[in-house]
């Protein structure tokens, strides 16, 4: 059974009650929310994710709760709670839905030291993955959203997961976070994709979430092999150019963007080293999405690196 099989009424009732239990790649999550207005969009974002049985182990028990007392009515807030622990300061209630996503990212980052977690988008063609580590504002999510609407498979938009034993990139296929100008760009570029209503005035500006493509969610448990490491940078008016990057620089790029590189010690170094050995690494400047996609498709056509 998948989330879409639940009627909207059942989804709402479960979300407010015992929770929606679903599998997001390697993580089983139970989502609850006392903030009812996020239900409909949440149901679409996770429409194709498999539901799991009540008798299964859950990795993250997360909830969005409204404030208590006067706070319910006066400047209402949303609280993120993971199993009775509140790791963040509350946010204004209209930010409840992005907060659920940010909260899940926090859970993965804080609780997963059995894998390498890189702050990077990753997409795949066949069984080969392109990893896009980048600082905020580089256009990483925009590029990722564009690629997955043009035949690439979404592995992850925000956190790339590397299996320490095999070196594989594990799929996560959760919603893609779009910010500010990229919201309208992707709306125009992929009119069929579902985007949530924009949420204004977050610390990241205006944000909206794009639902992961159905095919990516269905294939989420098929891992991919790291093949390309591409450090993207959006620069208005530029021609799309791919510049090869030395292995040393590539290693530092991945290590800098790995959330738990410093925690994993030697194992982290080995995992990043293996990735760099297996990947062709590039820095990539672009302004037009179509040109960018063409370059990625050409990389994929070139055969095994």
């Amino acid at each position: 059974m998948i989330v879409r099989d639940l009627s909207p009424a059942t989804f709402r009732e479960r979300l407010a009650g015992k929770g929606i239990r679903l599998a997001a790649g390697p993580f089983n999550c139970r989502l609850q929310s006392g903030v009812s207005e996020i239900a409909d969009e949440l149901a679409i974002l996770y429409a194709h994710h498999p539901l799991i049985d009540d008798s299964e182990f859950v990795d993250f028990h997360v909830a969005i709760e409204p404030g208590r007392g006067l706070r319910r009515w006066l400047k209402p807030q949303a609280h993120f709670v993971v199993d009775a622990v509140e790791p963040f300061t509350p946010l204004p209630r209209p930010q409840a839905l992005p907060m659920m996503e940010w909260g899940l990212n926090w859970c993965i980052t804080a609780y997963s030291q059995h894998i390498l977690v890189i702050h990077a988008a990753s997409v795949a063609k066949g069984n080969r993955a392109a990893i896009l580590p980048a600082p905020p504002g580089s256009g990483k999510s925009t590029l990722c959203a564009a690629l997955v609407n043009r035949g690439w498979r979404l592995l992850s938009d925000e956190l790339t997961l590397i299996n320490l034993q095999t070196g594989d990139v594990m799929g996560l296929a959760r919603p893609v976070n779009l910010k500010n100008a990229s919201i309208d760009i992707i709306r125009a570029y992929a009119p069929d994709a579902f985007l949530t209503r924009p949420v204004h005035d977050t610390t990241k500006g205006t944000v909206a979430m794009m639902a992961p493509p159905e095919a990516s969610v269905r294939a989420v448990n098929t891992p991919a092999r790291p093949a390309w490491m591409v450090l993207p940078r959006y620069r208005a008016g530029s021609e799309a150019t791919l510049t090869p990057m030395g292995n040393g620089t590539a290693l530092m790029q991945i290590a800098d963007n790995a959330m738990n590189y410093h925690i994993l010690g030697t194992r982290g170094f080995e995992a990043v080293g293996r990735m760099v050995d297996e990947c062709r690494s590039y820095s990539f400047e672009y302004s037009r999405l179509d040109d960018a996609i063409a370059i990625f498709d050409r990389l994929a056509a070139e055969g095994t690196p």
Partner: protein, 367 residues
């Protein structure tokens, strides 16, 4: 009895856990800060292969996190040693950092928020300035808090290294000078042991580590790590038990340091809850198993559970409050306590000073 306690007592029982029981076990263990320790315990009990992949990932993550902290501590100890050497002082480590440096089983999976060290009270100012010269700064507190620490407490206000971020507690003794029990810190320093191969790095002796842990556990009012501390005691006592004659020495030492009261409670509850093997003669001499303290038992029976909603009952809030009151009662004479609580009521702290994994952070940092 909580699921976590059941498994700590009888690790092989994990073989019979259903996925939902594993779910609860991981949640309780995370709340008790014991994920890494449980991982090592299950491994030692030979049931590693019986851990399903998902819960194993969480336990392993806890163990990896602890390993990382231990690595930092080994590094930090050398910096601290060199810093204190400027004042001609040895580094004497307490609690978690001591377990790690002394290579004790109590280090297994142990997480800690700070490094605790001991310096003679007469040399406190020298130690503080030597540490400041090597990059340690005092946290900003108001004048009242500064006075609270410097006049009434057994430690300086918490320090932090300005580049490495490590938190440091500089103690001059192990209980507040205002408390009813007054263990002589000079005796602790005298018996401290040098870490083999690391001149200038010392830890308290095993007996004193046990007594400090007991004093800390049964005199502090912050319940979130109490079960973790009890498992520390269990592991320390099991190490001590490897040589039977050390029990009598521990008892004598406790009396000498005025810490036989906390030791009695430590043995009572480790023995009852974690089945720590304690010789009958020791239990008898200290009266560890005597009845007649139903309120204390009811309180500790609750605050020594993993502090997770699943272990809560209607008396839990009262038990937590009582623990807090008891800790303050033991810490200060009544007039000082009244003065301190009145000040805190009139001028409540502006920011919460709790640090650690549950520290409030901005949601967007994680995204």
């Amino acid at each position: 009895m909580s699921l976590l306690l059941r498994i700590l007592r009888q690790p092989t029982e994990v073989r019979r856990l259903s996925p939902t029981e594993w779910d609860l076990l991981i949640r309780q263990t995370r709340h008790a800060n014991l994920l890494g320790r449980l991982y090592h315990r299950l491994k030692a009990a030979g049931v590693e292969a019986d851990m399903p992949a998902r819960p194993r990932n969480h336990l392993l993550s806890g163990a990896v996190m602890a390993d990382r902290q231990h690595h930092s501590i080994r590094h930090e100890a050398l910096f601290l040693r060199d810093g204190l050497a400027r004042a001609g002082l040895p580094l004497i480590l307490l609690k978690g950092a001591a377990y790690v440096m002394a290579g004790l089983p109590a280090a297994q999976g142990r997480l800690f928020a700070d490094v605790d060290i001991l310096v003679p009270r007469a040399r406190l100012a020298d130690a503080e300035s030597a540490l400041m010269l090597t990059g340690w700064t005092s946290s900003t507190l108001d004048a009242y808090d500064q006075r609270y620490y410097r006049q009434w407490m057994h430690e300086l206000p918490a320090m932090q290294h300005m580049f490495r971020g490590t938190a440091l507690d500089v103690h001059h003794t192990i209980l507040p000078p205002t408390s009813r029990l007054k263990p002589d810190a000079a005796l602790l320093i005298e018996d401290s042991i040098e870490v083999p191969g690391l001149p200038g790095v010392r830890t308290l002796s095993l007996a004193d580590l046990i007594l400090h842990s007991a004093a800390h556990l049964f005199h502090e009012g912050e319940p979130d790590n109490l079960l973790r501390d009890l498992t520390d005691l269990d592991l320390l006592l099991r190490r001590l038990a490897e040589n039977d004659s050390q029990w009598d020495a521990l008892l004598a030492r406790a009396i000498r340091l005025q810490l036989d009261g906390p030791l009695r409670l430590a043995l009572r509850y480790t023995h009852r809850l974690l089945l720590t093997p304690v010789p009958a003669r020791i239990l008898d001499t200290l009266g560890c198993l005597k009845g007649g303290q139903p309120i204390l038992d009811a309180m500790y029976e609750r605050v020594l559970r993993p502090q997770h909603p699943s272990t809560r009952d209607w008396l839990t809030p009262a038990a937590r409050k009582l623990l807090y009151v008891r800790a303050h009662w033991l810490r200060m004479p009544p007039h000082l306590l009244a003065y301190h609580l009145a000040h805190k009521a009139i001028f409540p702290p502006k920011t919460r000073s709790i640090t650690g994994p549950t520290e409030a952070v901005n949601a967007n940092k994680a995204a």
